[in-house]
C-alpha cells in the first residue's frame, strides 16, 4: 500500500463510511470524498487508459481539469461515461468502471498501439489509407473507428428527469473560494441580489485545502462561517454543485446544477440535473487558477500528479497520494506542497527545482536538487522512481509519486467565450483575461492574484465597486488578517530538457512534445492548426492542463513570445454538460406542446384515430366495427359524404377577426384577389402571395359587418399568416386603421357536408338556410335552437353542399353531439382528415401539398383570380417576372391511370412515354394522390410542364423509389362535379 488514508485530518466524515465499487472490486470511503480521493485512499492508482496508445493512467488533478481519471458511473441506462473521478461525489453504492481497455484495465491489448507510436504521429492518417480505394471503407475506417472514443454511451432511454430554471440577480459570483466568498459577502451585505455558484459539492474553493490562518480561524472555519452568514442573508442564494458553463450575450450565463448525481436512488420528484439560465446584471469570475503541469519525460504514469492536487488530497480529504513523494517544481508552490505533505507525515523524496537559485525554503531535511530536470520515470502501471538529470549527471530517485508544479494558469475560460482573446502577461508568465466590459469582472487568482490575502482583498474590492456602480451603498469593511504567506512566483518552463521518454502535453489525447514539433515542421505552427493537427486540447478536458503548455512550446520552438502564439479559442462548455440537462423537460411525448381542438373529446368518443398535424392532433378517420384498414374507413366516409352527409372538425383552421374602417382596404392589399367590395354576409376564397409572387396561403374571407371581417387560414400557417398580417399592418401600412385578433381558440368549427347537409343543419338553426336565403358563399350570424349564437358559412372543401358552423368552443362537443343525433336519420357519419383529403383531391382543391412555396397562382389554375385591376397587393410586382410567367412552367393537372387498377403515389415524377429517365427529361411530379371511392380508381393532382395544354396526353408516372411505372392520362384536376351542381344544390 502506498497511497492511503491519513490517520487524521481532512473534511471527510470519518464516521460515515460509504461502500462503492471500482471495476467490480468493493472499496470504501467516507462521506465528503470524491471518487478519486476514495480510490487513492484504497491505493487504486491505475484508473484508465489513454485514448490513442492506451497507456496506463492515474489521477492527475483534484478537480474539473482532470484528463485521465475518467470512469463510467452508474448502471444500465443510467450510465454516465467519461465521468471525472476527481469531481464525482462519493455515495454509498456508487459503481464505477474503467474505460477504453480490453480485456481489462491491467492487461489492455490496445496498449500495442504504443509500439506503433512512431508511425502514428500527428496527422498520420491523412497521409495513408488511400490505396486501394475500396479498402478505406472495408478495412481502414472500421479499424480507425473501433479505436474511437473513450467511454461507451448506452443510448437507451434515460430514466432520469431534467428541468430548466431561470434566475435573475444583480451579481453572479462564479467560484466560492476566498475571492468569491468575500465578494458575495460584500455584495450580500450591501443588499444586492447575489447568486454564488460553485461546481464543487462543498463551497469554499481552495480554502478547503488551505492551511494558512484567516483571522483567528483555520481557512475551513472561515469558509464555513462565511457561508453561514451568506445563507442567513435573504438576498443571497448559494448554489453548490452548479457549474457555470457558458457566458452568453447580455450577461446571460448557462449553469448546470447536479441535483441528484450524488445519490444512489434519485427521488422521483426531483430532476437529476437542472439547467439554470442566469440573467445577471453583473458577474464576478472568482474561478481561481489552475496549476500548470510540467512537460517531462515519462510524465504520464499513475503516480504523477499536480503538486497542488496532492495538497488537496492530504488537506481536504485526508489522503496521501503516496508514501514517498518527489516534487518537481519551477516555483514556490512546489515547496508549499512539500511542507503540507510533510506536516501530514508523508515523506518527501526530493524537491527537484528547475531553477538555479530560488529563495524558497524546503521542509527541514528535504533534499533540493536545483537546476534539475526529470527526464524519465520508472515503473509500469505505477510510478516507482524518477530519473533526474542535473549538469549532465543522471540520478534515479525512488519514490511512488511525484508532484509537479509548473506555475499557474488563471481560469479565464468564461471571460473569453465571447470573442475576447486572452492576453499574455510577461510579468506573470501566463495568460490573463482582457477587459471584457463591466458586465463581467475577474477577481482573485483568476485575475492573477496568488496570495490568499490578495484574493480576499480583490474579491471584496471588486464587489464593492460593482455594488457602488449599481447604486448600492457599501460600508467599509475590514478584511480578515491572513497568516504569513509568500507571493508564489515561478519561472515558466515549457519543456524539461533531456527527456528520455515521451513527454506528454495533452495526456488524454496522447499528444507529446514531438507531435507539436512535427506539426510545426509541417507548416501547422499556427496555434489553431497545431491544435487540429495534433488534437492537443481537443479531449474531454478541453486543454485545461495542456493548452497553455502547447502555446508555450510553440513559442519556445520558434523562439518567439507566447504572446505571438496566443491561445486557441475558448468556447462553451467550461466542462461538458449532459444533453438531457440542456433539453430539460422537453423530451418524448413532451417534446412539443400539444394543441387540442375543442372537439377532441367528442372525436375520441366517436372512435377517432388521431394524427399529428403541426402541434394539433386531428382525427384521421373514424373506424367502425369490422373495418381493418384506414382505407376501408376512409372510403366509407367519403362515399357517405357524397351520398348522405358527414361531420368534420375544422376547428384547427386559423381564424382571425379583423376590425376597423380600413379592414377591407387592408385585406384587399393582402390577398391577390379582390376583397374590397365583398358584401356583408358573404364569404370568398382568398389567395395570399408572398412578395416574390409565389402563393403563401389560402383561406376564406367573410364580411360580418362593414368594418368586421373574419378570415380563415390553413392550419399549418395560422401563426405565420397572423404574423404576416401584423407585419403588414404595423410596418408596411401603419396608417391603415385596422385591428385584429386571433380567435382560433374561441370557436369550435365543424363542416357539415353532403347532399343532406341542409336537412341536418336546418334542424338545429332557427334562421332560414334554404338555398335562396343562404346561398353558396353566404356567411352570417345565426341562432341555434336553444339560444346559442353561432356563425354559419356556406363554403365547401369537399365539393358537396356544405356548411361550416362555428360555435363557442365550450359548447362545441354538445353541438356536435346534437348534429350527430339530428343527422342519424340522414345517415350522418363523422369523417376525418383522410376522407377530407380524398374529397378535396376528387374536387381538385389544393392544399400545401400543392402550394409548396414554389407555385404561382397560375400554376395552380388560379391565374384568373389574380386581380389585374388592383393597384397594389403583396406579391403583385414580382409575380410578373419572366421565370414566373414562362410558358414551360409546371401547371397543375389531374392524372388518372390508363389501367384502372394501377396505383399512383405522390412524389412520383412524370416522363414522356418512351423518354429515358433523366433530370433533363423530367416533366413534373405528383403532388397528391389517392384512391377515389367515387370513381373507383386512383386519381392524382400533378404539376406538369405546360400541363394545361396537355389534357388527354398519356404520360409515364415514374416512381423508381417504389420500382413502379404507370401510364396515366393527363386530365383536368376536377374529377367530381366539374359544373359545381352539388355545391350549389
Amino acid at each position: 500500500m502506498t497511497a492511503s488514508r491519513l490517520p487524521s485530518g481532512g473534511l471527510v466524515d470519518r464516521g460515515s463510511t460509504l461502500s462503492f465499487r471500482f471495476d467490480g472490486r468493493v472499496m470504501s470511503g467516507f462521506a465528503g470524498d470524491t471518487l478519486a480521493s476514495a480510490l487513492l485512499a484504497n491505493d487504486q492508482l491505475l484508473i484508465g487508459r489513454s485514448f490513442k496508445y492506451h497507456r496506463p493512467r492515474g489521477i492527475v488533478t483534484a478537480g474539473a481539469s482532470e484528463p485521465n481519471a475518467l470512469v463510467a458511473i452508474g448502471k444500465g441506462a443510467s450510465t454516465d461515461p467519461n465521468t471525472k473521478a476527481t469531481v464525482a461525489e462519493l455515495y454509498d453504492g456508487l459503481d464505477a468502471r474503467s474505460q477504453n481497455r480490453w480485456p481489462s484495465l491491467k492487461y489492455d491489448l490496445g496498449a500495442m498501439n504504443g509500439l506503433l507510436s512512431p508511425f502514428l504521429g500527428a496527422g498520420f492518417y491523412y497521409k495513408t489509407f488511400m490505396w486501394p480505394a475500396s479498402f478505406w471503407e472495408k478495412v481502414y475506417e472500421p479499424v480507425i473507428r473501433k479505436a474511437a472514443g473513450l467511454g461507451r454511451a448506452v443510448l437507451e432511454r434515460d430514466p432520469g428527469s431534467y428541468e430548466k430554471c431561470w434566475a435573475h440577480c444583480d451579481l453572479l459570483v462564479v467560484g466560492s473560494g476566498p475571492a468569491g466568498l468575500m465578494a458575495a459577502l460584500v455584495a450580500g451585505r450591501a443588499g444586492l441580489r447575489v447568486i454564488l455558484a460553485d461546481e464543487d459539492f462543498r463551497p469554499g474553493g481552495s480554502l478547503l485545502a488551505e492551511t494558512i490562518r484567516v483571522g483567528d480561524a483555520s481557512p475551513q472555519v472561515f469558509a464555513e462561517t462565511s457561508i453561514a452568514e451568506l445563507r442567513s442573508l435573504p438576498n443571497v442564494t448559494i448554489m453548490p454543485r452548479t457549474t457555470v458553463f457558458g457566458w452568453y450575450d447580455d450577461n446571460v450565463f448557462g449553469a448546470v446544477e447536479q441535483v441528484q448525481k450524488h445519490v444512489a436512488v434519485p427521488q422521483a420528484k426531483l430532476p437529476v440535473e437542472r439547467l439554470w439560465r442566469i440573467a445577471a446584471k453583473r458577474a464576478l469570475l472568482a474561478t481561481g487558477a489552475e496549476e500548470r503541469p510540467l512537460v517531462f519525460g515519462g510524465n504520464d504514469k499513475p503516480g504523477v500528479m499536480m503538486a497542488g492536487a496532492m495538497r488537496t488530497y492530504a488537506n481536504r480529504f485526508g489522503v496521501a497520494a503516496g508514501k514517498s513523494v518527489a516534487i518537481f517544481a519551477n516555483g514556490s508552490a512546489g515547496y508549499q506542497a512539500a511542507h503540507d505533505l510533510t506536516a501530514h507525515g508523508m515523506e518527501i523524496a526530493a524537491i527537484i527545482d528547475s531553477r538555479a537559485d530560488a529563495a524558497d525554503v524546503a521542509p527541514a531535511g528535504v533534499r533540493v536538487i536545483r537546476s534539475g530536470s526529470v527526464i524519465d520515470t520508472q515503473g509500469r502501471q505505477r510510478l516507482s522512481g524518477v530519473v533526474v538529470e542535473r549538469s549532465g549527471f543522471e540520478e534515479t530517485i525512488a519514490c511512488d509519486a511525484i508532484g509537479m508544479s509548473g506555475g499557474w494558469n488563471p481560469v479565464i475560460h468564461l471571460a473569453c467565450q465571447r470573442g475576447a482573446k486572452a492576453l499574455w502577461s510577461q510579468e506573470l508568465q501566463t495568460f490573463l483575461a482582457p477587459d471584457v466590459g463591466n458586465g463581467l469582472v475577474v477577481a482573485g487568482s483568476a485575475a492573477g492574484h496568488y496570495t490568499l490575502a490578495a484574493c480576499l482583498a480583490d474579491g471584496a474590492a471588486k464587489a464593492a465597486a460593482i455594488a457602488a456602480d449599481l447604486g448600492f451603498s457599501v460600508a467599509v469593511q475590514a478584511l480578515p488578517v491572513v497568516g504569513e504567506e509568500v507571493d508564489p512566483s515561478f519561472t515558466a518552463l515549457w519543456y524539461s530538457p533531456g527527456a528520455k521518454a515521451k513527454a506528454f502535453v495533452d495526456f488524454q489525447n496522447d499528444v507529446h512534445v514531438k507531435n507539436i514539433g512535427l506539426a510545426l515542421r509541417e507548416g501547422f505552427g499556427h496555434v489553431e492548426h497545431a491544435k487540429r493537427y495534433t488534437t492537443n486540447g481537443m479531449a474531454t478536458d478541453q486543454g485545461k492542463l495542456s493548452g497553455i503548455n502547447a502555446t508555450g512550446l510553440l513559442a519556445a520552438m520558434q523562439g518567439i513570445s507566447p504572446a505571438d502564439v496566443g491561445t486557441t479559442t475558448f468556447r462553451p462548455f467550461y466542462t461538458p454538460v449532459a444533453l438531457g440537462a440542456l433539453a430539460g423537460t422537453s423530451r418524448d411525448e413532451h417534446a412539443a406542446p400539444v394543441r387540442k381542438s375543442p372537439l377532441y373529446g367528442w372525436a375520441e368518443k366517436n372512435g377517432a384515430v388521431f394524427a399529428e398535424s403541426g402541434l394539433w392532433y386531428r382525427p384521421a378517420y373514424f373506424p367502425r366495427h369490422g373495418e381493418k384498414t384506414w382505407r376501408e374507413s376512409t372510403d366509407r366516409e367519403v362515399v357517405n359524404v357524397r351520398q348522405n352527409v358527414g361531420l368534420c372538425d375544422v376547428s384547427t383552421l386559423g381564424k382571425i377577426e379583423i376590425f376597423g374602417p380600413d379592414a377591407a382596404e387592408f385585406l384587399n392589399r393582402l390577398y391577390c384577389n379582390p376583397v374590397l367590395k365583398l358584401p356583408v354576409g358573404k364569404a370568398r376564397y382568398g389567395l395570399m402571395l408572398r412578395e416574390d409572387g409565389m402563393v403563401y396561403d389560402d383561406g376564406t374571407v367573410s364580411r360580418l359587418s362593414p368594418g368586421h371581417f373574419f378570415v380563415t387560414t390553413t392550419t399549418a400557417l395560422a401563426g405565420g399568416v397572423m404574423s404576416h398580417m401584423e407585419y403588414c399592418a404595423q410596418v408596411l401600412w401603419p396608417d391603415l386603421k385596422v385591428r385584429f385578433c386571433s380567435s382560433t381558440d374561441q370557436w369550435a368549427q365543424m363542416a357539415i357536408a353532403g347532399p343532406k347537409a341542409r336537412l341536418v343543419v336546418q334542424a338545429l338553426v332557427e334562421d332560414d338556410i334554404s338555398d335562396a336565403a343562404f346561398p353558396f358563399l353566404a356567411a352570417g350570424i345565426v341562432t341555434l335552437k336553444g339560444g346559442l349564437t353561432a356563425r354559419l358559412f356556406r363554403i365547401s372543401f369537399s365539393g358537396e353542399l356544405a356548411f361550416e358552423l362555428a360555435v363557442p368552443a365550450g359548447s362545441g362537443a354538445a353541438v356536435a353531439d346534437a348534429i350527430m343525433e339530428e343527422g342519424r336519420a340522414h345517415g350522418i357519419c363523422a369523417y376525418g382528415l383522410e376522407a377530407l383529403n380524398v374529397l378535396r383531391i376528387e374536387k381538385g382543391h389544393v392544399t400545401h401539398a400543392e402550394f409548396d412555396g414554389r407555385v404561382t397562382p397560375d400554376d395552380a389554375g388560379f391565374g384568373r383570380m389574380v386581380s389585374a385591376q388592383k393597384p397594389d397587393f403583396i406579391g403583385k410586382r414580382l409575380s410578373t417576372r419572366y421565370g414566373l410567367t414562362a410558358a414551360d412552367r409546371m401547371q397543375m393537372v389531374g392524372l388518372k391511370p390508363v389501367e384502372a387498377d394501377q396505383h399512383i403515389r405522390a412524389g412520383a415524377h412524370l416522363l414522356r412515354e418512351g423518354a429515358k429517365p433523366s433530370t433533363l427529361n423530367d416533366q413534373g411530379y405528383v403532388s397528391s394522390a389517392c384512391f377515389s371511392p367515387t370513381l373507383g380508381h386512383d386519381i392524382a393532382l400533378a404539376f406538369l410542364k405546360s400541363g394545361r395544354e396537355r389534357y388527354g396526353e398519356r404520360i409515364v408516372v415514374w416512381d423508381k423509389l417504389a420500382g413502379a411505372e404507370v401510364v396515366a392520362e393527363v386530365c383536368t384536376p376536377v374529377f367530381v362535379d366539374p359544373g359545381n351542381a352539388r355545391l350549389n344544390s
Binding site: 428541468e163 430548466k164 430554471c165 431561470w166 434566475a167 435573475h168 441580489r193 420528484k269 426531483l270 439560465r277 440573467a279 423537460t585 422537453s586 413532451h590 412539443a592 406542446p593 400539444v594 394543441r595 387540442k596 381542438s597 375543442p598 373529446g601 394539433w616 377577426e657 376590425f659 376597423g660 386603421k737 385591428r739 385578433c741 380567435s743 382560433t744 381558440d745 374561441q746 370557436w747 334542424a763 338545429l764 341555434l784 335552437k785 336553444g786 339560444g787 346559442l788 360555435v807 363557442p808 368552443a809 365550450g810 359548447s811 362537443a813 354538445a814 353541438v815 346534437a818 343525433e821 339530428e822
Partner: protein, 186 residues
C-alpha cells in the same frame, strides 16, 4: 330541439371532479370566467385604458399597446361584452374570448420557484408587483401572466394549449407536491 348546450371546460379531462386535496402550493382552475379582448381604436388607447380602469367588477390584463384582456367572474360572457360595449364601443373593438382562453390560478410559498422553471422574466416581488400583467412564454407556450396577490399569480392560456400548460405546471410543481383542483363553485 331546444335543449341548451352544455358548455365543457378545457381541463375536464385533466382535473378530477372535486379532488379536495389542497397542498400549500396549489393550482386552482376557476370554471366560469368571462374574458373579453379589448382593442382600442387608433388614438383612443389612453381613453380606453382610463375607461377600463373604472369599469366595475372587471380585472384587466395587459396584452400589448392598446390591448387588454378584461376578466370578470361575476358576469356572463354576454354581460361582460354588453357592459364593455356600453362603456367603450365608440373607442374600442371588443371580442368575446371566454371560450378561447382558460384561466389558472397558482398560489403558495413556492410559486415563484415553480414559475421560474418556465418563465424567463424576473418575478422578484419588488420587480413584478401586485397588479402587474404581461404576455410571456411559459416553456413553449404563450400565456398571459399576472400577479394577483402576495404569492398568487394568474395564468391565461389559449384553450387549445390548456392541457399542455396544465401538464407543464404539474411537472414544474412536482418538487413542491403542487395540488390541483377546480375552484369551489361560486
Amino acid at each position: 330541439m331546444t335543449k341548451p348546450y352544455i358548455s365543457g371546460h378545457a381541463l375536464d379531462a385533466r382535473i378530477p371532479v372535486e379532488s379536495g386535496i389542497r397542498a400549500v402550493d396549489h393550482l386552482e382552475v376557476p370554471r366560469e370566467y368571462a374574458v373579453a379582448l379589448v382593442m382600442a381604436m387608433e388614438g383612443e388607447e389612453a381613453a380606453v385604458g382610463a375607461g377600463l380602469a373604472v369599469a366595475g367588477d372587471v380585472s384587466l390584463r395587459f396584452i400589448g399597446p392598446g390591448e387588454w384582456l378584461a376578466l370578470s367572474q361575476s358576469e356572463t360572457p354576454e354581460e361582460l361584452h354588453r357592459n364593455l360595449s356600453l362603456l367603450l364601443a365608440d373607442n374600442a373593438y371588443i371580442v368575446d374570448q371566454s371560450d378561447g382562453r382558460v384561466v389558472l390560478r397558482l398560489s403558495g410559498p413556492n410559486v415563484r420557484r415553480i414559475l421560474a422553471k418556465g418563465i424567463g422574466i424576473d418575478l422578484h416581488p419588488a420587480v413584478f408587483e401586485i397588479g402587474a400583467s404581461s404576455n410571456v412564454l411559459c416553456g413553449h407556450i404563450s400565456i398571459n401572466l399576472s400577479r394577483t396577490g402576495e404569492n398568487e399569480f394568474e395564468l391565461i392560456v389559449m384553450r387549445s394549449f390548456a392541457e399542455s400548460l396544465f401538464d407543464d405546471l404539474r411537472l414544474m410543481g412536482r418538487e413542491f407536491d403542487l395540488s390541483v383542483d377546480f375552484s369551489a363553485q361560486g
